[in-house]
Subunit: 372 residues, 2 copies
Amino acid sequence: MTRQTPTLEDVARAAGVSRATVSRVVNGIRNVDPAIQDVVREAIRNTGYTPNRAARSLVTKRAETIALVVSGAGDESESEQNAFAARVLADPFFGRVVSGVVGFLRPRSMYPVLMFAETEKARGEVLSYLRHSSADGALIFSTHAEDPLPTLLAEEDLPCVLFARPLVSTPVTYVDVAHRDGARLAAEHLLARGCRRVATVTGPLNLPAAQDRLAGFRDTLARHGHPYIPIAEGGFTTESGTAAMGRLLMEHPDIDGVFAANDLMALGVVQTLLATGRRVPEDVAVIGFDDSNVAAVCRPPLTTIRQPMEEMAATMARLLQEQIEGTLSEPTSVIFQAPAALGPGVRHVVRGAGVRQRHRLAHRALHDHRQR
Amino acid sequence: MTRQTPTLEDVARAAGVSRATVSRVVNGIRNVDPAIQDVVREAIRNTGYTPNRAARSLVTKRAETIALVVSGAGDESESEQNAFAARVLADPFFGRVVSGVVGFLRPRSMYPVLMFAETEKARGEVLSYLRHSSADGALIFSTHAEDPLPTLLAEEDLPCVLFARPLVSTPVTYVDVAHRDGARLAAEHLLARGCRRVATVTGPLNLPAAQDRLAGFRDTLARHGHPYIPIAEGGFTTESGTAAMGRLLMEHPDIDGVFAANDLMALGVVQTLLATGRRVPEDVAVIGFDDSNVAAVCRPPLTTIRQPMEEMAATMARLLQEQIEGTLSEPTSVIFQAPAALGPGVRHVVRGAGVRQRHRLAHRALHDHRQR
DNA sequence: CTGAAAGCGCTAACAA
DNA sequence: TTGTTAGCGCTTTCAG
């Protein structure tokens, strides 16, 4: 019934040459007579041949595929797994990331495989997937600070690139944004607006990103004569933003400016402010930090610090590719500047130029690490 | 350097049996002495063996992988390809779909590979990917009515399931929502609110979904004594909603109720209404149709017809699986009811129960089709 | 119930 | 420059 897909053998026969020769032209290896190349290419066209990935992968140990892994830390129960996936995927953050990755992969005819690694078992599957070269490497997006996956991958020298600097020091390549600089811009924005009683809703403080945004915000305000800043910790969700703002208002009802460590929380903050009869931004100015793109659909328009998420994701893919090809031997990090943008869709002058930094690791530390 | 991953051979040696026997227990084939099974399983545990997918796939012609394909119709230029991908991925619709698919796949330790097929070349790649069983089947999400991909797949009997009924009649399985019923609920909602001068912003009218939503809306209103309904065609984006509402107001400034054929457009509609000094919903009531989940982050809360997107996507995965396993021979369609929900997060009483329908195809039509 | 043997389609030495 | 050959790791007849 189902027509067989043509093999190298078929092409070889059609072209009157050996399999090896066909293989050579398919893989663009020189040392093939140009005339024969033409004949072979013609035969390929006639037969409609395309290489069988499984067969090729079996011998080359290359899948020409990369894994896009969303990983957590815990050991969620079966029932919580779907919820985990749903939560991550529902976040607009995800679409932007995939978009950036796909932008890099597409021209290379590569396709990402989507994996989740929030349990011990799932991590094991990711590991064996990579060990078998079912994927040549992984792009890791952790939702928890203590995610063990990066270390597990690094221990086995499996190619991977992280989104965001990991909490534990692991010799691994990552891409991140300059959180402190972004937070500084947020602080300056509020000050420039004339806010004098500012507060911040932070992300989960065990996350480096959340810490850095808080630190950058605090430092800037301190430098401007505001040594004490009320803070409330949130969980990067809209609901947590709503709650956190409620707590802040309880203690400090006269707040006139708020920096929310991400846009979803900023949304929650705005909702609480409106619900308590305050006007935004007349009474209280709010600025977010752009992980998602909710700022674009928000009324009133949300002021936010723009992260070049797509570019960051594309850069991750590029670094992974270099790692797979062996072009990149040492762990590297690329830090993007987060340019300020007021409101959604505002054209920003400062492009987010990536600043690549060599990550020098003490030999000893690396060694110790390998010893586990 | 890189430790070899253990093979069947290794396990066989450790267990003192042949490769074939190990393979049998790995694949759960009966007719293996229980005692030997234990020995083998122990050896598997000790060696840390996991099957090599490429090798297995080479012989079984099964990849245990499915493709999640976002396909367009046109033949976009190179530069437009990224834009295409970005547009689709930015839409929250996408996250919900992936979430639903992953919900089905995860418990089966399967992972989807993400593909785009908006050009001739990309379609070719998807086809050969499936022909080679690099993926066992495809879940297709078309963004255009004249997408040739479903037909191409059907012609080669490659397993696939579509999201939404295709425009051209193709013997292919699909999952859809009862657009007319949903639109009817939207109409009834507006009438119940007391609206008397209603209008609608439709989707691209070459899409069956957009046609059906329009038809359902019109029919219901006609039945209630409103034979004429102003309409403006949009493109399922926020901007197109803004523009369409502007056109409607130009001709009919006294509109007091609007049905937008999706939420993104509803957002645009609301923005135009507010911008022209109208209050929502006091002056003009707006109801959307939920493709994305923007309704949840919208102020004022958007009233919308809820589509059970995740369940629909999960059902697509299930149908594809059945097709791959050969359990499902004939093309089938599953139509979900779209329950009405007022505002975001409102618990709806009517669950979206899937109504499976056999899709009876005239033998002759099918035959003609196969002849191309 | 178990093992031996023959490939799946491809690449990569190694010869010619 | 080209062909021959030996596998990659697995499943699957076919004997035993």
